[in-house]
């Protein structure tokens, strides 16, 4: 490989300049801010407070509530999403089934994924309105006494948000899995079928191992996205967290801490780094469970 000539360094400059200014610096700045009492309500300069923000946040019951809320929304979503996506992928890649309009179907299930989340949130708000929203009208018709007040209990709100996440993402995930399955050589199957392997054996013995990298990728990106979920609960409930504060995710909490309430940038920054640490821990734990001890670090590279 050739050495990079001088002009090449100039070509790398724009990227690394923007990279340092807009990505690295903000991350470091958030980190340093987390050790100060910097606040948006005060016009005075911030001063150093040590690890007080971290102590306060880790001792805050509300923070832990948002932690469990976030999981209560993400976990059912990823399970259902993965199940639906696997199902769709299995049917779509089966060439015995001559499905008409496969392309259209793919487009239809993918479409919710590219619509802006705020748009989806407004749509959810209108469709799930408990007295005049289409969901109750479709479920119960004119039997208004049965209408469910979707936003009266924390668990309903979590369920709705979780379901909407699944609805938005299972198509995307299915498409990823389909391309994973299609990437494997056909002879694998032919050999297996000749050996008289059963469907379930083929699925668990051949298909799953082959799409495992794709699944791991989906799980990890979904975990990062899920732990950072903000747009949907924020547009629906703003900083109140909705019924029982059940829709207050960690990111909504972080944003509220920093930009509403007492507008404490220091505490908000500490929350951001705690969330980051949580994501790191769960990602590593997940990789370790999936690949075993030795390979986990290898995969990270």
């Amino acid at each position: 490989m050739k050495r990079l000539p001088r002009v090449g360094y100039l070509m790398l400059l724009p990227f690394f300049l923007a990279f340092t200014v807009f990505i690295i610096y903000p991350v470091i700045n958030t980190f340093t801010t987390s050790f100060t009492n910097d606040s948006l309500t005060s016009l005075n300069p911030a001063h150093f407070v040590g690890i007080a923000n971290y102590q306060n946040e880790l001792a805050s019951s509300l923070f832990w509530k948002t932690f469990f809320n976030t999981w209560a929304i993400w976990l059912p979503n990823i399970i259902l999403q993965m199940a639906l996506a696997l199902f769709v992928a299995a049917v779509m890649t089966n060439y015995q089934i001559r499905l008409k309009g496969k392309g259209l179907f793919r487009a239809v299930i993918f479409f919710p994924n590219i619509v802006t989340v705020t748009t989806i949130a407004i749509l959810v708000y209108a469709l799930f309105d408990w007295q005049s929203g289409a969901i109750n009208q479709l479920l119960f018709g004119s039997n208004t006494s049965k209408y469910i007040n979707w936003f009266s209990h924390g668990y309903w709100a979590q369920l709705v948000i979780s379901g909407v996440q699944t609805w938005m993402w299972f198509g995307f995930t299915a498409i990823m899995l389909i391309s994973g399955i299609q990437s494997m050589p056909k002879d694998y199957f032919e050999a297996a079928v000749l050996d008289g392997a059963s469907d379930s054996k083929i699925f668990f013995g051949i298909v799953l191992p082959i799409i495992r990298p794709v699944m791991v990728y989906i799980m990890i990106t979904s975990l990062i996205g899920g732990m950072n979920m903000f747009d949907l609960p924020w547009v629906l409930f703003s900083n109140t967290g909705g019924p029982d504060q059940g829709a207050m995710t960690m990111s909504v909490y972080m944003y509220s801490r920093a930009f509403t309430w007492d507008q404490n940038l220091g505490a908000g920054s500490a929350v951001a780094w705690i969330v980051f640490a949580i994501i790191g821990v769960f990602t590593l734990a997940y990789l370790r469970v999936t690949y075993g001890k030795e390979n986990a670090e290898e995969t990270m590279k």
């Binding site: 016009l43 805050s60 005049s132 703003s238 900083n239 109140t240």
Partner: protein, 427 residues
């Protein structure tokens, strides 16, 4: 409040002088720009900007920021002192936060000597900071009342005369009793029990946090929860979430089909909301609620480092000091003025109700508003009202959905949630 009369007289004189010079020199600020950051199109739609531009020749640059994000946008500007508008505003929910920042000029001092002699006391009080320095002024007040359906009142109470109907709602126990009667006839007293919030929030006697950062949960909040719960338990509210489309829609049902007896509205609700409900025009009456209250309002501040303080003051004094102009404005827009003299002067214009015909010529609503405005006490307003009132509302929702065994548990939950949001205060 202390008033130094000679100074006030001097102020009026100065205003007069300014007006005189403005008139004689014509468009003295030709070519200059006044920047105003606010949260609605109001100054455009009510013609104030057009008037000001005609009067001074200056150009007004109106920056509209959504109300719920206003503080998040204003404070960063004030921190860096860059790109700060000449005039910034505060809505009732956060005006105390704005004036306590200490970034707006003292309007009571030289060279402004703003007069608050004729203002309703609470309107002036809201513009003062912790030390009592006058930093913001308003041109309107926003007292509230109970807007009820005359068609339902006639059927249930046998009268649609506002004074007679008002007698059924003069205390909270009568309020609840009347709610029961309405429920027996198949009507709901209110669209949502939580709507009473604006009534009770305006009657806090002490701020949430005092000067020593001690937390106070005013007993009026407990009363709020009890009344709301009684309404919910007696099936007296329709459980429509406030400001939702169905909530708005009930307001627009024609007489005969309406299920909700009353809505709680301040002055602006009459002109901006009820008057656009075509199906129900003329079916409304207005009476007092058991407490005097207000909801909303906008206060104007001049940024202390603004290079255009003279221009900004010209705008603010036109809207808040110049009584002839304020009369014109109140008549044109239906705003309820913050100036008692103005309200009195134009009172008779409304003897046949509002111009849009919401009240069907039934009563002079401004008399009710004037009675209420006089008695409002804003001493309990604090910087944290915007955030904490929201918390209270959200706990109330949970309380009405039976999440707490009793009202005291709900009160405790409020304190817990506030503590999580303001951990550095004393509880």
């Amino acid at each position: 409040m202390k008033f130094h009369l000679p100074k006030r007289v001097l102020t009026l004189g100065l205003v007069g002088l300014w007006l005189g010079s403005a008139l004689s020199f014509g468009q003295w600020a030709q070519g200059r720009t006044l920047t105003i950051m606010t949260f609605s199109d109001e100054f455009k739609t009510n013609g104030v900007i057009a008037d000001f531009e005609k009067l001074t020749g200056a150009h007004v640059d109106l920056r509209v920021v959504p109300n719920e994000q206003y503080m998040n946008k204003l404070i960063p500007l004030l921190r860096t002192h860059r790109d700060v508008p000449d005039i910034f505003v505060g809505e009732a929910g956060y005006i105390k936060e704005v004036v306590n920042l200490g970034q707006s000029v003292d309007l009571g001092a030289a060279p402004y000597y703003a007069s608050t002699v004729n203002q309703y006391p609470y309107a002036a009080e809201m513009g003062r900071d912790r030390q009592g320095v006058l930093r913001a002024l308003t041109w309107q007040t926003t007292p509230g009342g109970l807007f009820f359906r005359r068609s339902i009142a006639l059927k249930v109470f046998g009268t649609d005369d506002p004074i007679q109907v008002g007698k059924h709602f003069s205390t909270w126990s009568k309020f609840i009793e009347s709610g029961k009667i309405l429920a027996r006839h198949g009507y709901y007293l209110l669209p949502e029990a939580g709507d009473l919030g604006s009534v009770f929030f305006a009657n806090k006697k002490e701020p949430y946090f005092d000067a020593n950062h001690n937390w106070h949960l005013d007993p009026i909040i407990k009363k709020y929860f009890e009344v709301a719960k009684a309404l919910r338990a007696g099936n007296m509210d329709m459980k429509l979430s406030d400001w939702s489309a169905p909530w708005m829609d009930q307001m627009n049902t024609p007489p005969g089909k309406a299920k909700v007896f009353a809505y709680l509205w301040p002055t602006w609700g009459l002109f901006f909301v009820l008057s656009t409900q075509k199906e129900s025009l003329g079916d409304w009456g207005i009476c007092h609620t058991p407490l005097n209250w207000y909801w909303g309002g906008t206060w104007l501040n001049i940024y202390k480092n603004s290079p255009n303080k003279d221009l900004a003051w010209a705008f603010i004094s036109m809207m808040t000091q110049n009584e002839p102009y304020m009369e014109k404005l109140a008549l044109r827009t239906g705003d309820f003025s913050s100036d008692k003299v103005v309200v009195k002067t134009i009172m008779d214009h409304f003897n046949n109700g509002d111009p849009a015909g919401v009240l069907g010529g039934h009563r002079n609503h401004n008399k009710i508003f004037a009675e209420t405005a006089d008695k409002i006490d804003a001493s309990g307003v604090s910087s944290e009202d915007r955030v904490i009132n929201q918390v209270v509302g959200s706990v109330l929702d949970d309380y009405l959905n039976n999440k707490f065994p009793n009202v005291d548990a709900a009160m405790k939950e409020i304190t817990t949630r506030v503590q999580q949001m303001y951990p550095d205060m004393n509880y």
